[in-house]
Assembly symmetry: D3
Homo-oligomer: 274 residues x 6
């Protein structure tokens, strides 16, 4: 909550700084105006409320109106959002509001295209922690808007035991036992494994989730069979959109993909003042 | 300066929050380790100092070593950076440091590919204000690392008079005159025009820079001729990499492209703990 | 991490404000001194590192020395910590350092007395969210130092479905199903129930944890039998120290008690300047 | 003023963090509800306005209604406060609002029981600086609500010369003289003394207040006689409730007790959603 | 924008701190009152909106009314501003609001007296970076209110090459060339010169502005002739009000004077509560 | 403490913002340099430590050396401070360090000239709350450096009952009685009076200090006689330097003058890079 307020303040500060020297000197403070934000390509919209907050920071009485909700698909040329209020606020907030909308909608649109590959599959597509620093909560929100699921928010709300942890503790069984004795009973334990012998250990340790890291399809199939429902199975590592279908058919429960966020590009939106 | 410190704090906070429950419970606080960050694809590196600051926030005595400087080209498989210090700091800082490096190097790498198109051309490639909110200074830095130029930092350090300003003021000549009487003598005045008649007015108003907005090549050529060195000429609007060569030959002074930043994707870097 | 830094700054600010008018006017800035912090009653110490940070904020070269670690039992009259540095820093930091130590050690000492009741019992004693606002992470740390376990950190890192959520969703089964489709696969689902019929629904919904809220011993026994290992069982609600033994014998997995934190009193520590 | 706003923000942030994953996923954003906060034991209420601010942070249009004011005595089972607004805000703010109310009312209730011992006595009961870090202003407010007086707020708004200051300055007379020449004429000077000879010096130095530190009743009586109205007399140090009556009869002006704040426990309040 | 909010918060915090102990203890919270702020000497008013924000921070429903706008001349004895709202807010905000108004109007009044010397002269009077730390944007605003112009806001929005830069780069021509290749095309380049030979170099380097530093009138005249319109000419350095007329007649374009801000004194304003 | 750190950060941020575009582009990061700050007029120096902190923020290894301490008188042309470190830090910090030194030394120099008028007089010269918003602690420090005394820091650390408080309470005696029952026993009570009858009431109410507001010399003499040592006597209101001598001879204890701070002008200091 506060994080978003702060990011919006920072964004406006870095763009406006001590003042918009063009607008402040040419546009009278009380002049009113109306702007429309238009989709310049097909997209899944995300961030309407963020855009609203940007403009409200500049004019507390500004009016926003949209026929869409986050998650809606919008065609090229359609009006995403109408904004009516002080012309200065429209001109000063335009770029910042668009920068938020373009990135968040870019992620939602990207995610939606991955999700489409998995229609009717009984598998969950999840994001990772590969997000833009400062944007974790926002980008994870855009992932949900796009139709995928969030993995843990950060290092604090889920256990993921990786090779370095295992090496230091002297084995998967020791690592899981040690951590189970320390964490809240509400947090699940996931173990990252890189071969079949480690899977056996993770099962013996009663891990809640087993992540098969960077394995090929055949090894994944073997893994799923070996686990046999005794833990959730997640696959991760360099997965592209075209792999999704085959991966889903292996029976894994979760496919996590960093590209949902870090390979998303901004979509094209523009604002016209009327 | 403070902006970056704050962004790094925010980034670590959003990832670590009240604690890395895996690492804090499994790794002893004084255990030391060494990590190497490796390029998983060819890239132009940017953000080495940001990565350093991330790790130093977690272990003030951590040692970093790199054979490269920001702007260097790095081949796939090469070591970008070595980090040596507390293992907890390596594990907790890894993702945040990589998230910074991946995005900044992604921009630098993208920019370099645009710059390559303009070799031996007497034209300046510039970025725009289409940056990730909260990242303006960092992304503009990555643009310079990639070899292009910065346009104004924000609305505060350069005048750009657009159609809405002109409409309200009653014409280009009125708008330029009014603003010249208000701003510092060190700030230049740029006017955005959309046709040739407006160019004449901008020249009459003695604009320092004239931006030809969304014009086709032929109109741009006409514009450059008409302006004839009396103002700098900038072109902008939906320009792709393949347009660059032809645009440069029109004689324009500046080509500004939002895609330098907002179409950049993260490059692939990973960290191995030894 | 940042939260603690900020709390320490706030604490010093609220005590020192624009200046310690007694010390600043009577003690020369470079005068050195030595102080010892002494236990005035038997206690379990917690917060040594917080005390260290308080003094370091006032004199970056101050030296602290202790023969104890957080969690150690200290007898009345023993020296907990020695501090050596600028006399001004000792006098200005004394009260704030003690205020931190007294409250955190008060919690650890209180928790230890509860934990002692459960020796050799196979049950986990857990805290709640009934903590001092602003102190969540610190007080939960003191609970661990005392030997008990943390429940979820906040509303963000664990699901606990209560009667109001159930009522709105139309039943336990509906509520669990709806939330399972939204949250990360690493987060467990706990359901609060108040009678046996709700237990059946929670089991049918495959809740990970079932909280028996405010039930008497006989109902708890019935509940544990009914659940029969298919979910973790937590009891909560107005539990006193003297109930612990009997509760443990019912076979529940977790006993959570707000009094661990909110009924803890400060223990008595004082500082002598030598 | 800002301190409280900040503490409320911190408290909500530490509890809600990136989101209440139970409520946000199960309760529709616009659903309304009503809650009542009930006293589960007899208490003196303090913090009603803080609770109001907590809920308003989450729903600016929430309505609060109470038949009580801070300082009122409330019986077990009575409704302290009614809250009506968005159900999400009720569920997310409940624990934080209660945590504030429970601690502040706990202090007010504790203080009131001390004050009751001094009815009809011509003596002032005062708090100390032994408060929860970050809560100084709030806890001192609860002390006033309970019926006692505040000692100085911090090290900045009153002079209290202790043994270490005296030792460094070479005596009470020297210390008082030196500080009188430096501080504002509106600040009083208090000197802590531990025997009768020091009292004489403090009187000679014309201290405004003399604190008799850790003396027994007979010595206190002697002290009061010796001072004979030439300075205010304060006693402090390990005073329990049962000592109050006898202490008051010695003729001292102020009795200060750290236990007013640091030995207060939270009182029991709960919230029911209707 | 945020800078001002923060400065107002800081100002109220440093004055009110944990509370106005006089007003909070003597004035009922809901008592209303009316105050008038009166000019005690002739002045040019600046900061009316800052004063408004100060009072609104303390009473969001306070009403302010003024017959003047920033920049108006006000005679001794006239009412500058009426404030109506909670009496507590009036009494607590009075000093802070006046402190802002007195300093900002002091600058505006001082500037106006300099500007008056240059009536009908074709020259621009500009401020410098000699402003009160923390007040840059506000004081530069007051300069504009007074009728003069702003030089660059800071080191970030204009290039000013001084002797040290030149020495390091090996000459004016080298320095200008190097920086032109790095900065945005919207930023002008100013070069500080101290003799005629340097002017030639600055012209050869095509500097946009040439600053004649600490030259006497005759040298300035020579400089203006030599430059002959090929760059803007600025003079700076120990200029007093009585020099202005003669300086203007030399034909320089800009006269910059630090005394506009750093030699301004507060004007006298007081507030009466009715 | 934190207030000063924050003000320095704000000051550097407002001057440097996203970067010193001249220095960053022309001066290599590791180049070293040396600067000397020179008094351009006779002055009392104040703020040496603030200047040090400014430069250290920009180069943590910078070395500063001064032959003077705050409060020393420095002749025109003498070196106040030598600074040696990174040239970039010298150039970027120069203006901010000077702006702090010029204002603080300006106040100290101004105060010293007032103090000189009162040599051998038994009266205390005090400042007021008429300080630059954000600078309260710093300016009050400079007042002490100049040789005068501080009045209360703000509204929180001293009681000053004015006419509006008195009117609301129904008289001086009622106001003093009411507030004595609420405030800490360490805070003195001052009452502002405007005629002799009010003095009698203030004496009856046992005010610690009586302020004679805006009275002429004869009335002040009468007041002092009437009070006759039963309270401290302060005079305030439009007092100029030339009044001091006669005022001192009336026997008042404190003369408070807002002009100590708000009529102080910056003194002239400059920095030369060698």
């Amino acid at each position: 909550m506060d994080t978003l307020h702060h990011l919006i303040d920072t964004a406006l500060d870095e763009d406006i700084g001590p003042g918009d020297i063009t607008t402040d000197n040419l546009i009278a403070p009380d002049l009113k105006g109306k702007g429309v934000i238009i989709a310049k390509e097909p997209l899944v919209i995300a961030g309407l409320d963020v855009a609203r907050q940007v403009f409200e920071r500049l004019d507390s009485k500004i009016l926003l109106n949209s026929g869409y909700y986050d998650g809606d698909t919008i065609k090229e040329g359609e009006i995403v959002l109408e904004v009516e209020g002080k012309l200065r606020a429209l001109l000063k907030g335009e770029r910042t509001a668009l920068n938020f909308l373009q990135r968040l909608s870019g992620i939602a649109t990207n995610v939606r295209s991955f999700v489409a590959e998995l229609e009717n599959k009984n598998v969950r597509l999840a994001d990772t922690r590969k997000t833009t620093p400062g944007w974790r909560v926002l980008e994870k929100y855009a992932v949900r808007v796009g139709g995928a699921y969030n993995h843990r928010m950060g290092l604090y709300d889920g256990v993921l035991i990786k090779d370095n942890h295992i090496a230091v503790c002297g084995g998967i069984i020791e690592a899981v036992a040690r951590i189970r004795g320390k964490i809240s009973h509400l947090v699940k334990i996931e173990v990252e494994v890189s071969d079949l012998s480690e899977i056996s250990q993770a099962l013996e340790a009663r891990a809640d989730v087993i992540m098969l890291d960077n394995m090929d399809i055949d090894r994944i199939k073997e893994g799923v069979e070996l686990i046999d429902g005794r833990a959730l199975v997640e696959v991760s590592g360099n997965i592209t959109r075209s792999d999704l279908n085959r991966l889903a058919d292996t029976g894994v429960d979760i496919i996590s993909i960093g590209a949902l966020t870090h390979q998303a590009k901004a979509v094209d939106l523009s604002m016209k003042i009327k």
